[in-house]
Symmetry: C2
Subunit: 295 residues, 2 copies
DNA sequence: CCATTGGCATACCGAAAACGTATGGGTTGA
DNA sequence: TCAACCCATACGTTTTCGGTATGCCAATGG
């Protein structure tokens, strides 16, 4: 059962004539006649009544015609759908993001994406750092919004912005009275620490910041997420040095203050599999850059 | 876009491997690999990710897979449907019948047909004699139940039974007191006549009957249908010589009596286009014979 | 570090299928 | 009776397909 035969069959059925159909198909009449007879042989029954004034569908032919046209349309639609997905006009874009970025980035990012790629199903998942990496690698998410970027040979990274570090503390903290906190004031105070990228203490931007200013802060607790850090800060367990955007999701009772003399910042990055050929990534990158531009 | 390519594509997608799919398709691996690449070239985008452990669908491939499987199923279903129609397992059987036969034949015929050809859509239409002929010729009915048979070179006829003629008269008629009416009693009485087949007076069985008994009955009215004839009989316009089965649909006030010494009968026949190759006709004929057998 | 294995891609050749041209045969209508 | 129309058949050419042989690459194991 060949799709070309079906196409020929539908053409002849619609033209009610081999000659007319051949003309429309831009081919000679005899080979078309042969193909129709081969199709009839394959089915095992005549599909047309041959009259002196052209061809007319038999009932078996009518039964075939309906499904054949549908099959043709489906095949064409399948090819078109595949092309549309490959070109990024349709498909699915699965985005893994970290919770801190939700309030800061998503409200501008999502409308921008819906405008840019209206045919694409968007799928957002709030994921922890390690899950983002794992799901990028197994392709169950296409891109990830990270802070900081994932460091992995298979994963490509594009920096789209940065967040200055700020000090997060309970509102009753004496430091909260300052409009900006000098680094020196942090000496010896307990720190609520976040995970180091790649389990390497030196790779942490906060560690680097403290080291450069020769500040030592004992680690009171180590938590996985910025929000856990803020909870512990609120509980009086210690201070946290967090990206500025964390303010947007901070609970009442926490205040943020800039660190005087510290221009350090943490990168916001888009990460994706190096071998992913999804054309949606470029678009996503553009939209993400736009979304973080005002920050 | 070739259906074979789609079949190959689906096989590879399901086996997640060219080699395995080739085995299942009973062909060598290289040509299958070539066909897949040709399909990708036709679509204009890669459909598989080639890994060291086999093939994996890209998103474009997934988009194609859904429709390709559907298209394959539709094509197979179309072929099967055409075969089913050609073999008489499915399809439509359009039956034209005359009103007089409705009560006599249809109650036994219809259940018989539904049992014999459950997959076939039945379509019954009560039609006048000339309409039956016309619609057989233009193929808008497949078979016709006639009494008497249609006489036309394009139309084939099978006699499935016969109905003896009876005399229909008002219940108050003096003849109604007889259990059987001798032909001689009809002499000179007004007759309600039905149309002659082929507009040929000699071809009418009733005319032949009267001629053979040398009876002359003046024609009081000429009507198209048996039921009209009975209406006029009831109105006292004359007598009618009708097939026995007309009793079943006769209005109150009409009685039927056999004609003594007249063994004449009128044929019940199934008629169809000589060039119709519908396999349903044979089945219909069998069922119709069964349905009229007790009569 | 090299050999082996597993899997897909490429090259080439023979076979099958399709297409075009030429032509036949049947019916219709002038 | 002839011309026109339409489908079917025949035959040669070209395209395409499938099989065999082989190459390339990565992962695996000694």
């Amino acid at each position: 059962m060949d799709l070309r035969r079906l196409r020929y069959f539908v053409a002849v059925a619609e033209a009610r004539s081999v000659g007319k159909a051949a003309e429309r198909l831009r081919m000679a009449q005899p080979p078309l006649s042969v193909q129709i007879r081969k199709l009839e042989a394959e089915i095992g029954a005549p599909l047309f009544r041959r009259g002196t004034r052209g061809m007319d569908l038999t009932e078996a032919g009518q039964a075939l015609l309906a499904r054949a046209s549908e099959a043709l349309a489906l095949a064409a639609d399948g090819a078109e759908a595949a092309r549309a997905v490959a070109s990024g006009r349709r498909g699915r874009l699965s985005v893994g993001y970290m919770f801190v970025l939700a309030n800061a980035v998503l409200p501008r990012l999502i409308p921008e994406l819906r405008r840019s790629i209206p045919g694409v199903d968007l799928d957002f998942a709030e994921l922890s750092a390690s899950t983002r990496e794992a799901r990028l690698l197994d392709r169950s998410v296409t891109v990830a919004l990270c802070m900081p970027a994932i460091n992995h040979p298979e994963i490509q990274v594009a920096r789209i912005g940065a967040q200055p570090f700020m000090l997060a503390m309970p509102i009753r903290s004496p430091l909260a009275r300052l409009s900006a906190v000098p680094m020196a004031k942090l000496q010896g105070r307990p720190l609520i620490a976040l995970p180091w990228p790649d389990h390497d203490p030196a790779s942490s931007a906060v560690a680097a910041l403290l080291r450069r200013h020769q500040i030592v802060m004992p680690i009171a607790s180590r938590v996985e997420t910025v929000h856990s850090a803020m909870s512990l800060v609120l509980a009086g367990e210690g201070l946290a040095i967090l990206p500025a955007c964390a303010q947007l999701g901070a609970p009442r009772g926490i205040v943020f203050r800039p660190l005087r003399d510290a221009t350090d910042s943490i990168d916001i990055a888009v990460c994706w599999r190096r071998d992913s050929q999804s054309p949606l990534i470029r678009t996503f990158l553009k939209c993400a850059e736009k979304a973080v531009a005002p920050m």
